[in-house]
Symmetry: C2
Subunit: 406 residues, 2 copies
């Protein structure tokens, strides 16, 4: 037998399979209510429009030939142009040349990390933060530090022995907490990034999923206004069709200064040449047909489920449990008494309550957050949400650690 | 303006855009005959079967929901199982669990490099070699060395100060030369890899495109026979549907020991979560329907074009030009007199002869091969091949460097 472990590069040690992931793989059981994944409801996918677009593209010989052939690493130009129009509508004036099509926003994170992060570099991010960002970034062996806050330039400079490669932030309905940055926090973050000369990833995965409250400008929009256009800014905006159309396409994008896009195109070419040609052509047809109208039922549905989850939590949770009230997105975040370890709780929740969630430690680069957990509210319907939160509440009330926790 | 260059990690310096790539981007002109890309003829794509499979999958609500949803990083299990059957037919007995679906074989190369190669590691490969492998591997900053040959263990050990991470080889109809390894060369390479404890990438991109001669066993098949099964071997086999079905899907695979697949799944998850779900489900339908029968017209067509190119070369090339006679694949390889630089020749070929090719230096990690070039014979039909080779021959005969070169 080959002793494979000794052949792996150091970065592979960052990629150990977690026991939690293994546990969550077992969720495909009908009697188990999963609040674990960040999974959209497939009933909301525009399946008819997608099927019709496939028929149109594959039914036209010239378009079919292009759809099945190799294509440009940058992506399908009409789709890039459509995205540039969408971005311009968000206040980030740009052209198709500022857009790289990626296989989901996840791949955008991987490629940006590959371009910017060397081993030992500092990457600044929120705690907790998106698990997939920790996975994408972690492969390039950074050390993590907190995002800069107001008045913290001096402190950052003092500790600046290591190169600061990147900041990473999800300003709207953050995965995992559901929290959003206020306008003031956005301005402060951009000012701090400018002072630190820090390139900043804006992960806008949930941007379109606002259920209440006033929309706030994207970091990239504030930055473009401040710096005088996308090419003068330092924000690398990552968007996705996974939440607004369907995730199975694996289509997302980076909007960034032309100079960065040119580099990322080389990274894309070296990694997988380009994203699937047919999927890009179909997506271009579908977004023109269904967006933004398709967002109305999506928002209505997920808002009702969020409300159902908030109501069930208020009803079912014992004293000592706190949770966030997100204005959008797919998740809310529970904090339990410090004595409770949610990784151990997950095993019992699956076995005894037939309910699943993601333990909070998965979202912390430093392994903290052991008494927190993430609940998804977009996949299960209201009845199952009420049922599942009830079962979770009953389990928590049975725990000795909860007694007197309030 | 942000000075982006200083923000990039060292590996980004490996990814400079080449002038040749820029020149070859300009090829979309009808009066220009391109022998540059490794592009299959879209007339051979099973477009009807692909369209019908899309209709079936998207017409069934349960399958459509799965096709548009997130799915497993490992890939669609029925497709993995089909590939395992195909691999078993090649003499590499394995199950679906030994297969990772990747976005083309290019992504397989990227992920294997990401798992195995640390900066400064030695990667052993042929000269010339596949340009895309140099791009995928180069991002992880190896140094390159030649593949081991018979009796060369001692020399390799003496120079073994740097860790040997990987070998990379394309045994059948190699890109760019069209050459194949003999059975003896395969055995020797495996013996040398075993002596060096070297994991070996077998890039089988063109394996199915044999036009004449006896098929030879894959390295992975010889290794499985020698070691006692795929899990005991050291070969990481990379396959693709780009040459047998259509490249626009971006679907390929790695077949490897289970222990390596488990690691590569984590790399896949961190990079893009999974390949497009719908494309995998459609591919599973299509391969069952069209393979292996669809290979008959593909081989017939490409064989005729190879023959046309060989005949045109014999007719049109001036003395002093040599070329390979591949038994399959997509390319043949020209060697011109040492005084000729084919990068400079390409600019003149495009401008004066309206013909394009890829200069040989692109396939050499050390920048050698300046008097060589690669010709593709699968995209242009016989008449255009005769025309294009005639124009290239006429240009060569006008060059002063050719005079008396024979």
């Amino acid at each position: 037998m080959v002793a494979w472990e000794k052949h792996y590069a150091g970065r592979a040690r960052r990629m150990a399979a977690s026991e939690i992931r293994e546990l969550l793989k077992l969720l495909d059981q009908p009697d188990l209510i999963s609040f674990a994944g960040g999974i959209p409801d497939p009933a909301l996918f525009p399946t008819e429009a997608i099927a019709a677009a496939h028929r149109r593209v594959l039914g036209d010989p010239a378009r079919a030939a292009a759809a099945l052939q190799y294509s440009a690493s940058e992506g399908y130009r009409p789709l890039r142009d459509w995205i540039a129009g969408y971005m311009t509508g968000l206040g980030i004036a740009c052209g198709g040349e500022h857009i790289l099509i990626t296989s989901g926003a996840q791949q955008a994170l991987d490629f940006i990390a590959k371009l910017f992060v060397a081993p030992g570099d500092r990457v600044l991010l929120a705690r907790p933060t998106y698990l997939g960002a920790l996975q994408a970034l972690g492969a390039y062996e950074p050390v993590y530090d907190d995002l800069p806050r107001r008045g913290d330039n001096r402190r950052a400079a003092r500790r600046g022995a290591k190169r600061r490669a990147l900041g990473y932030v999800m300003p709207d309905f953050q995965n995992p907490t559901g929290a959003s940055l206020s306008r003031e926090e956005r301005e402060e973050l951009l000012a701090a990034a400018a002072a630190l000369e820090l390139p900043l990833i804006e992960d806008a995965a949930y941007e379109a999923l606002r259920y209440e409250g006033e929309g706030l400008p994207a970091l990239a929009a504030l930055e473009a206004a401040r710096a005088g256009g996308i090419d003068a800014g330092r924000v690398l905006y990552c968007g996705t069709f996974s939440k607004t159309v369907a995730p199975g396409f694996r289509l997302g994008w980076v909007a960034a200064p032309l100079e960065v896009i040119r580099r990322l195109v080389l990274v894309k070419q070296a990694s997988d040449l380009h994203s699937a040609s047919l999927g890009q052509m179909v997506m271009h047809e579908v977004v023109q047909e269904v967006l933004p109208a398709a967002l109305v039922p999506i928002r209505r549905c997920y808002r009702a489920r969020r409300d159902a989850m908030l109501a069930a939590l208020a009803r079912e949770m014992p004293p000592g449990v706190q949770w966030t009230t997100p204005q959008g997105g797919m998740f809310l975040w529970l904090t339990l008494p410090p004595a409770i370890d949610t990784a151990a709780l997950l095993a019992r929740a699956i076995a005894e309550a037939r309910v699943a969630f993601v333990p909070g430690r998965a979202f912390h680069a430093d392994g903290s957050g052991g008494n927190t957990l993430r609940l998804n509210f977009t996949l299960a319907d209201e009845a199952r949400i009420a049922d599942g939160v009830g079962r979770l509440g009953a389990l928590l009330r049975r725990l000795p650690e909860m007694v007197g926790a309030a």
